[in-house]
């Protein structure tokens, strides 16, 4: 053994300059310049916000100022639930801070099993597999399920994790126009009859907050002998009699083969999962690279998730309050004259549509300076070249907070000429 492996490697203080044409970082010059131009106008960087303190699911301190949070995915406000926090503390005390390994080797602890049991109960299914993030759940499920010579048929507005799952696999990828049932049917009809097919849908599309006509789309997929995967990340906890998602609300439970979900939204921690009634579902654990070749979630995370999921099952009051909040904000913004992503209050996401980046940033900045945080989203994340100020509601927002929020939108919208 030599000493070489024991000496900490250091980057040189004055690295030798790489010729621009050979510098791999040169490809980012345009991106760096665009960001700098935005900063130079004097605005706060919308993609570099720091929460200095978090006081509750709806309040934080940003740049020294008390701020109402209206741009998180903490739909059910579970992050500060006393039972959830206690479960995490107990797990830290009993099992330590991490698992140091893959689920497949040494990384499965009691609470990984417990959270998968909680998911089976919540969704009333026979199978549940937990991944380290929601992104990895899509990446793993799509790339593993659909192989060479088979087809993935996906909505054009699908989340990046769905597109990346397609790229990671070997299947043929076909897109259809967003939420267009006829377009899906037409494209399925052009594919080879005998090839395996997976149609991927989302209950709620997160940019505009619109929901999918799942009943019709699932019927078309079944007619064409395709299996169906629905990503219900933005609907867990508050759609359907048991809060399972849009697919439950629209009565498609028997026909959706795989449900993808996340712990980072309504559940209030981090992690992803897939649930299914397929009798061979467990085989995914043996074949899925994003499940096998990564460390499992820390014990405190799965313990908080399990407790949160068990509480979400009975969170009828929170569910009602969340819908009440979404409806009142949607109605208020509409009455003020803002252009919104959906005609009615379809989800817990309300997107205000603006036509140019300058006004979107100015509006976002005015709101932040007044003590309100919303998400700013821009192409390519957004559909059809739109700039969005996205509001996402929490069950813990109070009617008083919604009233304050509407006043802030009114003042910012009028001073910038967005509304009359």
């Amino acid at each position: 053994m030599t000493d070489a492996g024991l000496v900490a490697e250091k980057l040189p203080v004055d690295p030798v300059e790489v010729a621009p044409e050979r510098d791999l970082m040169s490809k980012f010059d345009a991106l760096i310049a665009e960001r700098q131009a935005l900063i130079d106008t004097g605005v706060t960087d919308p993609f570099a916000i720091v929460m200095e303190q978090v006081k509750s699911p709806t309040e934080a301190v940003i740049a020294g100022r008390d701020t109402i949070l209206l741009g998180t995915y903490n739909y059910m406000g579970m992050t500060f639930d006393a039972d959830v926090i206690q479960a995490g503390k107990d797990a830290l005390d009993q099992y330590g801070s991490g698992t140091n390994g893959s689920r497949m080797l040494n990384g499965t602890f009691r609470d990984h099993i417990e959270v998968e049991d909680a998911l089976r109960d919540f969704y009333d299914v026979s199978g549940a597999i937990v991944f380290s993030t929601g992104y990895m759940a899509n990446l793993g499920m799509i790339s593993t399920l659909v192989g060479k010579g088979e087809y993935v048929i996906l909505d054009a507005d699908s989340h990046a994790s769905i597109y990346d799952g397609c790229k990671q696999g070997n299947a043929e990828i076909v897109r259809f126009r967003h939420n267009d049932v006829n377009d899906l049917d037409k494209r399925l009809g052009r594919l080879p009859k005998d090839a395996g097919k997976l149609v991927i849908l989302e209950g709620v599309y997160s940019m505009l907050g619109d929901i999918a006509p799942l009943k019709e789309m699932v019927a078309v997929a079944k007619k064409r002998n395709a299996m169906v995967l629905s990503d219900e990340a933005h609907s867990m906890g508050f759609y359907g009699p048991n809060g399972r998602g849009v697919y439950e609300e629209l009565g498609c439970e028997g026909d959706v083969d795989f449900i993808i979900g996340t712990f980072s939204k309504s559940v209030g921690t981090v992690g992803g999962f897939c649930v299914s009634n397929h009798p061979k579902f467990e085989a995914i654990r043996l074949a899925c690279r994003p499940y096998i070749f990564t460390a499992s979630l820390p014990p405190s995370v799965v313990a908080t998730a399990a407790t949160s999921i068990r509480k979400l099952k009975h969170a009828h009051k929170k569910r009602a309050q969340l819908w009440e909040n979404a409806r009142s904000l949607h109605a208020g913004l509409k009455a003020l004259g803002f252009k919104l992503g959906t005609e009615t209050s379809d989800s817990a996401i309300i997107a205000i549509i603006l036509d140019d980046q300058e006004r979107a940033v100015a509006m976002w900045q005015a709101l932040l300076d007044g003590g309100l945080y919303v998400n700013m989203a821009r192409p390519p994340a957004t559909p059809a070249g739109t700039f969005l100020l996205r509001c996402s509601l929490c069950a813990e927002h109070t009617p008083a907070q919604i009233a304050i929020v509407l006043k802030m939108f009114e003042a910012a919208g009028r001073s910038l000429g967005v509304i009359g």
Binding site: Y151, A156, C166, E172, I173, V174, R175, R177, D183, K186, R187, R190, L191, P379, P380, P383, A384, G385
Partner: protein, 80 residues
């Protein structure tokens, strides 16, 4: 008129509504470089071509197609 010429004429006719810069088209015209299309335009255009010829151009195939000529050849092959 050959089959390829007929496909070429239909493809270029479909390009026109998206040809905002009025670029003169030939087999070597590139979608990204010459026509400067973004991913959303490509998506709309591909859907239009698919519907016109009643074919599917998978995203895997799209990744290999850079020029008008390559698209015409791909359509000819897919039409069989």
């Amino acid at each position: 008129m050959s089959d390829r010429q007929a496909i070429y004429d239909t493809v270029t006719a479909q390009i026109e509504p998206f040809n905002k810069k009025g670029v003169t088209l030939n087999d070597a015209t590139t979608f990204q470089g010459d026509l400067e299309w973004d991913s959303l335009t490509v998506m709309d255009f591909v859907a239009a071509i698919e519907d016109e010829f009643d074919i599917i151009i998978t995203m895997n195939m799209q990744a290999e197609i850079e020029t008008v000529g390559q698209l015409v050849d791909a359509v000819a092959k897919l039409k069989g």
